[in-house]
């Protein structure tokens, strides 16, 4: 009783302290850079360490261009899209927006963003069409018009804890498995309970695991889409009219992810498990994450290394996205010219390499080619996988709405609340209704 009382009192005392505990140097939400008369208001969702790199670049830009100042606002992505909607309705959007390529069709279909074809070499401008991958180039377009300037490729990959591998007698530089069975075998060796048993042992205590091999809850949506394509499936039929997540490929893909938790016991259920925190604390051997993990990983007391994403299906594939610059259709005059200068500066090969310091893979192939393997191993490993077998989001005006319908279904499966078939059938029905409504 005394212990309980002490604990409760301590808890009550700690709460206000927790409130006042602040990150000493957070990324500035609003950064005023430069003092030039021409001001560019710029919104982006780079709320992680990539935002720090972006602001460093902007600070350099305004030194090189003293007549321009930049007001950079970092807003978490979900909030950014909600605020953008209100800003466009109010007729007061920012001068420059960084968003994901998957959002291009939606904003392009509303007619609120500028056709940027004239900035590409093919349209008489300066952006080198040939210096980005075909898939990146395609990602900038909607119905034959170019709306964006790509900043980077960012996507999925793994980070492994080298010490965990070596403790299990595994070579961290081994060839990655190319089958589900191979990955399961690897994960089983990397999962340990408090008594040092792994899931192949009869004595394994799943309620007392001190080291998980994998965390399915990091971003189930991207990982499911990756596995779906690896099994030869797709989210939508080729003609774009039918949702096909509940195909045989979809069921197989999600079943494998589900089985990592409930059959092979190499991953905890999705909800309530903080994969980043667990990796940082040495409780997770392999974290499915992305290019953006680089700078966080460098701050950890963990001996880590980047791998490409898992391959459970017949052929490799991995999801990636593109941070894309868009300009509101209403922007004109000197401010437009200033924004164009900023975009040209950002698209310079040297500055693209600087952007690689954020962890993301520069959009320009020429910049990717000169990345130093010593300093940018993760960018190179993952970037190569995007170029070789990466896929972008399904291109439609309702992609985010489709994802919003699918996400809770995947979460339900990975938390044991629904069967794979029920979840995919329910999700497919909801998504089909969205797709039908959009036509």
């Amino acid at each position: 009783m005394k212990k309980l009382l002490t604990f409760v009192i301590l808890l009550a005392l700690l709460l206000p302290l927790a409130v006042t505990a602040q990150d000493a140097e957070p990324t500035p939400d609003v950064a005023m850079l430069g003092e030039g008369e021409l001001n560019i208001s710029y919104w982006n969702g780079l709320s992680g360490s990539d935002g720090v790199t972006m602001n460093e670049m902007l600070a350099t830009f305004v030194v090189d261009n003293p007549d321009i100042s930049v007001t950079s606002e970092i807003i978490p992505w979900n909030t950014l899209y909600a605020k953008l909607q209100a800003a466009f309705v109010a007729g007061n959007p920012p001068d420059l927006i960084l968003m994901h390529a998957s959002e291009v069709p939606q904003y392009a279909s509303y007619g609120v963003v500028k056709d940027l074809g004239y900035l590409y070499e093919s349209g008489g401008g300066w952006f080198p069409d040939e210096d980005v991958s075909a898939i990146t180039y395609a990602g900038m377009q909607w119905e034959g018009t170019i709306y964006g300037i790509p900043l980077d490729n960012h996507g999925r990959g793994l980070w492994i804890n080298i010490d965990h591998f070596e403790a299990a007698g595994l070579d961290p530089n081994m060839d990655q498995p190319t089958t589900f069975e191979g990955w399961v075998e690897l994960f089983q060796q990397l999962t340990l309970d408090a008594n040092g048993n792994n899931p192949t042992s009869d004595d394994f205590d799943v309620d007392n695991v001190v080291q998980w091999a994998y965390g399915v809850g990091n971003w189930p949506l991207a990982d499911f889409l990756t596995l779906l394509i690896q099994h030869g499936g797709s989210m939508v039929s080729e003609d774009g009219s039918t949702i096909t997540i509940n195909s045989e490929a979809g069921i197989k893909a999600l079943s494998q992810y589900h089985d990592l938790v409930y059959e092979y016991q190499v991953s905890p259920p999705a909800a309530g498990f903080d994969t980043w925190g667990a990796f940082a604390a040495g409780q997770l051997a392999v974290i499915p994450t992305g290019t953006w993990f680089r700078n966080f990983a460098s701050t950890l007391d963990v001996n880590g290394q980047a791998w490409t994403t898992v391959q459970f299906g017949e052929s490799p594939s991995t999801w990636f996205g593109i941070h894309t610059f868009l300009i509101p259709d209403s922007l004109e005059g000197d401010t437009l010219a200033a924004v164009e200068r900023l975009l040209q500066w950002m698209s310079d090969s040297e500055n693209q390499v600087y952007w690689a310091g954020s962890g993301q893979v520069p959009a320009l192939l020429s910049a990717q080619a000169v990345l130093d393997p010593e300093n940018y191993p993760s960018n190179i490993v993952m970037g190569q996988s995007f170029t070789d077998y990466g896929f972008l989001d399904f291109k439609s005006t309702v992609t985010q709405e489709l994802y919003a319908a699918l996400d809770p279904e995947l979460d339900a499966v990975l938390n044991g609340l629904k069967s794979v078939e029920d979840a995919l059938n329910d999700g497919a029905a909801r998504m089909q209704a969205i797709l039908d409504r959009a036509e």
Partner: protein, 312 residues
């Protein structure tokens, strides 16, 4: 006397000849309307107009940025009736509201009783207990996400001293709503506590004295005097609590993102996703209007049930 006749209302001399004679009742009515006017203007411009716009919007296929907004009559409401996510979110909202209103009322009343005892530094404790109410929902959500974290949380760490294995507070569908409710009770009991303190101070002391003389013990005093005389206060606290907690959004948004699965979806959370993430303002408006109607019905029922036994 000059001074007396110059005072408004003291005599007929101050009234200009063109102003008709107004009796006292009428004058009080005019004064009341004048006092209410600023609020009524504010209400009409910022709330009434928005409410009207929301109802209007709910009859259109209204996307904020799409130029065409076709009139769809009751289609959004028909879709709402078939939308099992909405009904599931409504069920969650009702469960959350019931737990939170009950918990908040009990904790606030207990706290009010404690800080109205004749103890030293009572005001210090009042401030201390009210403090959580000053935090923003963002701060509260982040604090409790860490406290309830299944791997690194202080609560599970404390429980481990008693041999209790880590509890997945926010990841278990059976626990997630109680966990969100617990968070909200901690955050929100301060204001009803103040209301209860005011209510307790309004109970005449002589009633307690008379009861004590008749030999009543503390329990009898509470159940036969305090609680009955606090009914108007309880009605106010529960009605405002239901209205407030029915609109819960920040806690699931920050702490669980509606998960696991949709286990912590609430109506406003669903409304946000529909209107602001999927850009379906028309359907989102239908969700909001439906919630407003449901809340109005619940409030009326509360008044009918609780106020029957209230003596003002």
């Amino acid at each position: 006397m000059t001074g007396a006749s110059a005072r408004p209302g003291a005599g007929p001399d101050w009234r200009p000849a063109w102003l008709p004679e107004i009796n006292l009742k009428r004058r009080e009515e005019i004064a009341a309307w004048l006092f209410l006017t600023p609020f009524l203007i504010f209400f009409a411009v910022f709330i009434g107009r928005a409410m009207f716009a929301a109802v209007q919007m709910s009859f259109y296929d209204w996307h904020a940025l799409r130029p065409s907004r076709p009139f769809v009559s009751f289609e959004n409401y028909e879709e709402l009736l078939r939308d099992d996510v909405f009904w599931f979110a409504l069920k969650n909202t009702i469960v959350f509201t019931a737990m939170t209103v009950a918990g908040t009322t009990v904790v606030a009343l207990a706290a009010a009783l404690a800080v109205t005892q004749p103890v030293r530094q009572a005001n210090f404790f009042r401030v201390l207990l009210y403090m959580p109410s000053l935090f923003s929902v963002g701060a509260v959500g982040l604090i409790w996400v860490w406290l309830l974290n299944s791997q690194f949380g202080v609560i599970n760490y404390g429980l481990s001293f008693f041999g209790i294995r880590p509890v997945n507070w926010l990841g278990d569908p059976a626990l997630v709503l109680p966990a969100l409710s617990l968070t909200t009770i901690w955050w929100a009991f301060g204001f009803p506590m103040l209301i209860f303190i005011a209510g307790l101070q309004g109970i005449p002391e002589h009633l307690y004295e008379a009861a004590r003389i008749d030999g009543a013990n503390g329990r009898q005093l509470f159940f036969n005097i305090t609680l009955p005389l606090l009914r108007p206060t309880i009605l106010f606290v529960t009605v405002t609590g239901v209205i407030g907690h029915f609109q819960v959004y920040g806690q699931p948004f920050i702490m669980t993102n509606g998960g696991p699965g949709r286990s912590s979806y609430t109506v406003i959370f669903y409304f946000y996703h529909t209107a602001w993430a999927s850009f379906r303002m028309g359907y989102g408006a239908a969700v909001a209007v439906a919630l407003a109607v449901i809340m109005a019905v619940v409030t009326v029922v509360q008044f009918l049930v609780i106020s029957r036994r209230v003596e003002y």
